[in-house]
Amino acid sequence: MQLTDEEKRMLQGEEGLVRQKCMEQLVDLCDVAGADRLVDLDGTGDFTHAAMMSQGRYGFPLEELKALADSGAKFKIPTYSNKVPLPQVPFHGWEKCGIPQHEDPEYNKKLREEEYMSVYRQMGLFTSCTCANYLISSFWPTVGQHCSWTESSAVPYCNAVLGGRTNLDGSFASCFLGKAPYYGMHVTENRYATIVVKSERTLRTEMEWDIFGFAVGELSKLEVPALVGMADATTSKTVKINAALNTGGSIPMYHIPGVTPEAQTLELALNGKQPKETYVIGEKELRDAYDKVNYLPSEDIDFVSLGCPHYNLVDLMRVAHLLEGKKCKVRLWIMTTPWMYDLAKSQGFLKIFDDAGATLLTGTCPAAMGMPDGIKSVAMDSVKQSYYITGRYSSPEDPLHVCYGTKEDCVEAAITGKWRGEWR
């Protein structure tokens, strides 16, 4: 393990307890990952705060953190917070979410862990509390910058969409010190495509990108895929595929030749080499993936949730347009980032949601915070949320029915209480 003199000083405790604990964590992670050095970060970071900061092997007391903040210490790189720890209470909309525990103001306040967040803010953390910081950060890494992000659905946004470089390893330690283990996606050779996955159908819709992402994730194992057959890329579609790739699989990096910045052509994506495998995803494979996430669908719906990953402003607008002048028959949650709430309000979307009986919630999701009691059948527009919600409510004897479809299918289900979605 190669450490600089400065890193050695930190490891030996000469720069204080907090830096020592952070360095111990990063050195141990290098050991586990097989990395022989740290890389200095020049991009951005995010991490999930947890009270475990004050516990465990790499922990330190809150008082130590406060003293560090009072001494003027700052995060080394622009850093954002992921959602607050489980059960990830909402920042907005909790008063009427329909779950008695979450409607308790004291519970909500306690789980936001403001005692830590206020200290982090003093040190420069943007307490954005979302899984989709890349949608609201207003500052993005550029091609080649080394980052440390922590959200599985966000990591490919950094690597594939922006050309930044990150493994899934964002932590207080990496962001505060501005260092991360040098392996995986930090290394140029590991970023080239190793397999090619072609779609027979030209994939144009959000649902097609989402379902294809799940199918690609399942077959790619830990390879870097070059994806062929994608068309009409949008922000919402890349958000969808990133989350789906990291539900069906673990794909921190991919290329869409001509779309993503590190591969204008398939040859560049492959670095001029032959792929280990070329897979073709046909109608059967897409249908199989759809059937996995459209799990035991039922005609009657009693809960609808949209916005996994958290919706961007355009997604919110589209749902507002669908709901304008309508009334929901069943409970509809719309999930977005806390910072998007005021924008939704100022644009008039919040009033439309309220008038329709829908609830705009921020900073969380159903899989994390739970759903109201008695739900038998849900409708969702996210592969990721569909695949995780049944893990939280797992019961083979009385399984949760999960209807998966488009925004339009889901809004219609909220208005009518009936499911009409289908694979298209």
Partner: protein, 134 residues
């Protein structure tokens, strides 16, 4: 007794011999695993609600959410992790659990090891030995 040695990479140190619990496919965390119970809750998964406490948890690779780290948390930890290919998810679980872990093996261990086989995991030197009845 037949012994099969499979070489790999040390992920976390320590040595242990225990019975294997084998997933022929990947494992997934977040809500698809329950660290307090020590089992998988992923729908249709062959190891659904099969306790892994004190077993050598053998699988192909980790997928899904960063919540995979919770395989290394809770009161019902496995005795060891053995998996074919490592990634950031399995690294975090190994670091979290601080139990013997061997990965990046020369062959997929799930093609050799069956649930119930005794396995010696040498996390210090990065290899495993599988014991099979002749």
């Amino acid at each position: 007794m037949k012994e099969i040695r499979i070489n790999g990479r040390k992920q976390f140190g320590g040595q242990v011999t225990a019975e294997a619990l084998v997933s022929k496919g990947p494992l997934e965390g977040f809500t698809n695993q329950n660290p307090m119970m020590g089992w998988v809750t992923e729908r249709e998964h062959p190891l659904y609600k099969v306790p892994y406490k004190d077993k050598v948890l053998v699988y192909t690779y980790a997928r899904g959410s960063g919540g995979f780290a919770a395989f290394g948390s809770g009161p019902n930890l496995p005795a060891a992790f053995v998996h074919h290919q490592s990634n950031a998810l399995s690294n975090s679980a190994a670091l979290n659990g601080r139990i013997p872990s061997v990965t990046d093996l020369e062959i997929d261990p799930t093609t050799v090891i069956e649930t119930g086989d005794k396995v010696f995991v040498n996390g210090d030197e990065g290899y495993i030995i599988v014991y099979k009845d002749e």
